[in-house]
């Protein structure tokens, strides 16, 4: 399968690592401009290199895909062997472009956003480090190397969530994210052990080839358990029920981090690995069903919490959890390409949403509570317009990207013969309505109506209200008359547009949020769904048995689509658009026309409102059932019982015992020379007496 072509794929992850190392080791002494340059050059080069690789990839023949580059043997233990190597197929190419492209844009944005923050070099060192691990994750050719990247992005995520480490809540959120991920990783590790036990290897190509030869498991078997364990790991990384709790708290990190790691790339790793393991999941329908159910439940659950949150970033965080649920639901109905498609479009519009929210926060000098926003439309027009595009995209308005990907998922959930179910579809549809509602709620509360300024000067996230002099004058769309910045740090009154270095990535992402969806226009809308066709060799659709990886048929998957199916698909699409409009209308009614309505409803439905506002008390439940018992158990049993009672007691017991014994024997050591001499004389007398006695009896 290895061909003569060599792309030097190792270059792709290593470039950001170099950038990270330079900034991390020397960055403290560098001026900010140099740090920013280094931080941009390496991911930029990575992106350029990735684009070149993809252009070369396009010219590979089907027989050369997947393209595997093995560099050197990494682990050899008995019959088990892992090489350090990289794997390029349609799926990793897609992920590669998303990670490098969106990642690079967010790097550019961060230069402006973080301009006034301390720890500038540290931030970019971490951010580049994240890119290294994420690209390792995406390009790895074996589960084990993928797991290195998997853990590495967790580390980078931890470091960046806790970036403002002096703030206790940020440090706590970092720990929570890391520990919750570890729980999922535990399942993932067990899954890998099972794979090794069964197949003796962790290489994608070998594992999938072997599984392809096996029959589909009708009941729960070893493949199903493996798949479920991998899904558990994916649920940790991608913030699905029951391990989603870390993601909303992760918003303590700087906003570009939320955009890059906790919206666009890292959290999609779970979706990626499920799609990557599609052969495994297709051989265990039970596991697939679990994936679908978890995805659907997470989608509607998180969306319902998002309805009532007031922190702009928290709304987006729950939205991310919900959209990730969508992706898992797609994978669960064996529509892996639809899931990945939504992953791609989501990466664009959600990164855009976060960055635009960051721009809003930046403009307001650190304000994150939507109740203190409002009326910003005229003040920060660029941010407003890109936010509008992103909002319409995520709400699923055609022809923006979110419509196509979401619609394909809903259609697959409804129509797939083996895995689809109208209940899943209905949940997805309700979720779409909720998504539309809370996104427009955010939109209206932030940009429309009157400015509701908060009377406080505290910065929850100390994003500067100050600009570098150079960037301020270049700020496009910068409101006239407001001479902002220049020393009066911490003002909240002067709302100002962000500098161009932050706006440029927003505009690019906005364009992406519009057009990326056009890659996957379904045939019902006279498109060709190129995305589905592109991924078809990797993600086998559900209905047909899985073939060996070696001989792909070249014909596209979705060729059989009767007319009635098309009209049904159109009707469903109409339904989801109608739901999106309903969400828009409701949000308009609630937050523009009758602003007193939400409060009235909240008082009337006090129970429901409180449940949602308190996020179903899931955190509290986890604390009561898991965290506190573990902490109390550790404290009272393991610490006070085992450590103090057994281990310390043994050590101290050895000490006191010898002390007791030596207390008796030390009497011999009086310190008085004459008593020693007396003992010696006595001993000598005994010896002499003995010898005399012996002589007498000899």
């Amino acid at each position: 399968m290895n061909s003569n072509t060599n792309f030097n794929l190792w270059m792709i992850p290593i470039l950001p690592l170099i950038g990270s190392a330079i900034n991390g080791i020397f960055g403290k002494r560098f001026p900010r401009n140099l740090v920013a340059t280094i931080a941009l050059v390496f991911p930029g080069a990575t992106f350029a290199y990735a684009v070149w690789v993809v252009s070369q990839f396009a010219s590979l023949s089907q027989a050369q895909i997947p393209h595997i580059e093995r560099l050197f043997p990494w682990i050899e233990a008995g019959g088990f062997r892992v090489d350090y190597g990289f794997y390029l197929d349609q799926l990793s190419v897609t992920m590669l472009l998303v990670v490098t492209g969106v990642g690079f844009l967010i790097h550019i944005y961060s230069v402006g956003y973080m301009a006034e923050e301390g720890g500038y070099y540290r931030f970019f060192s971490y951010l580049n480090l994240f890119m290294f691990f994420m690209l390792t994750l995406v390009l790895a050719h074996t589960y084990l190397l993928m797991f290195v990247g998997w853990e590495g992005v967790g580390l980078a995520s931890y470091l960046l969530i806790g970036f403002f480490f002096r703030k206790d809540s940020a440090a706590q959120a970092g720990k929570k994210a890391f520990i919750t991920n570890r729980v999922g990783d535990y399942g993932f590790l067990l899954g890998m052990f099972l794979l090794i036990k069964q197949f003796g290897t962790l290489d994608y190509d070998k594992v999938f080839k072997t599984i392809s030869g096996r029959p589909v498991e009708a009941s729960v078997g070893v493949l199903t358990i493996t798949a479920l364990l991998i899904m558990f790991g994916a649920a940790g990384k991608s913030a699905q029920i029951p391990l989603y709790v870390w993601l909303p708290d992760a918003m303590e990190g700087p906003t570009p981090v939320s955009a890059l790691i906790h919206a666009a790339t890292m959290v999609t790793a779970g979706v990626y690995i499920v799609a990557r393991s599609n052969v495994l999941f297709l051989h265990s329908p039970e596991a697939l069903r679990v994936v679908a159910i978890i995805g659907a439940l997470t989608a509607i659950f998180a969306a319902s919490i998002g309805l009532v949150q007031n922190d702009i970033k928290r709304v987006l965080a729950y939205s991310t959890v919900s959209q990730l649920g969508y992706m898992f639901m797609a994978c669960g109905v064996a529509a892996f390409s639809a899931g990945i498609f939504h992953l791609v479009t989501h990466a664009f519009f959600k990164a855009l949403l976060f960055l635009a929210a960051g721009s809003v926060i930046h403009a307001l000098g650190g304000e994150q509570d939507m109740r203190h926003m409002g009326g910003l439309r005229k003040l920060i027009p660029w941010t407003f317009w890109v936010m509008t595009i992103a909002t319409f995209a995520i709400a699923g308005f055609p022809p923006l990207s979110g419509f196509f990907s979401k619609d394909e998922i809903l259609w697959k959930a409804f129509s797939d013969k083996n895995h689809g179910n109208w209940v899943l579809w209905l949940i997805g549809l309700i979720t779409a309505g909720m998504t539309s509602f809370y996104m427009f709620r955010l939109w209206f509360m932030t940009f429309f109506g009157e400015r509701r300024e908060a009377v406080h000067n505290e910065h929850e996230e100390p994003t500067g209200g100050v600009h570098a002099p150079g960037s301020a004058q270049a700020a496009a769309g910068h409101q006239s008359g407001v001479q902002h910045g220049h020393g009066n740090y911490g003002h909240t009154g002067h709302v100002h547009e962000s500098p161009w270095i932050m706006l440029a990535p927003l505009v690019v992402l906005a364009i992406g949020s519009i057009i990326v969806g056009w890659l996957g226009i379904p045939e019902a809308l006279h498109g060709h769904n190129r995305f589905d066709q592109f991924l078809a060799p990797v993600v086998h659709t559900s209905s047909e048995p899985v073939r060996s990886t070696e001989n792909f048929p070249s014909e596209p998957q979705k060729s059989e689509s009767p007319e009635e199916n098309k009209s049904l698909e159109l009707e469903l699409a109409g339904a989801s658009v109608a739901v999106a409009f309903a969400g828009l209308g409701l949000a308009y009614l609630f937050y523009v026309r009758r602003p007193e309505l939400p409060d009235r409803i909240a008082t009337n439905l006090k129970g429901v409102y409180r449940i949602l506002l308190n996020k179903y008390w899931v955190d509290e439940t986890y604390y009561a059932t898991l965290v506190n018992p573990i902490v109390d158990g550790s404290r009272n049993v393991l610490w006070r019982g085992v450590d103090v009672g057994v281990i310390d007691a043994l050590v101290n017991g050895a000490g006191t015992t010898s002390k007791l014994l030596s207390g008796i024997t030390r009497r011999m050591q009086s310190g008085s020379i004459r008593s020693y001499a007396g003992w010696v004389a006595l001993g000598a007398a005994c010896v002499v007496g003995f010898m005399i006695w012996m002589g007498l009896h000899a």
């Binding site: 030596s662 050591q669 310190g671 020379i673 007396g678 004389a681």
Partner: protein, 104 residues
């Protein structure tokens, strides 16, 4: 006439007597220098026994041993007196009962 001189047992009794005096004064005396002197007394008692045996058995090794013992005693005296001096400087006493720090 030489052979009819003092018998060996007399020498040995004298030697044992001197040694017993040394041991007793070692145990009884409190002054370090006196104790030191009683050690010398014991050494010399042993020396007397060595010479007496050497003369009685006509063997030279006993005489030779005495020289070794004397050399060692001289060295011991030098080192011991230096130690005593140091002890006196730090403790300002020569009473062994007050130099008893070598214990718990």
């Amino acid at each position: 006439m030489m052979t009819q001189s003092i018998p060996l047992s007399w020498y040995l009794i004298l030697s044992a007597f001197l040694f017993a005096i040394g041991v007793a004064s070692f145990l009884i005396k409190r002054n370090i220098i006196t104790i030191f002197m009683s050690i010398e007394l014991m050494l010399n008692a042993v020396n007397l026994a060595f010479v007496a045996f050497a003369s009685h058995w006509h063997q030279v090794s006993g005489q030779v041993f005495v020289f070794f013992v004397m050399v060692v005693a001289a060295a011991e005296a030098a080192v011991g007196l230096a130690i005593i001096l140091a002890v006196f400087r730090s403790r300002e006493t020569l009473n062994v009962d007050q130099v008893n720090l070598l214990k718990l």
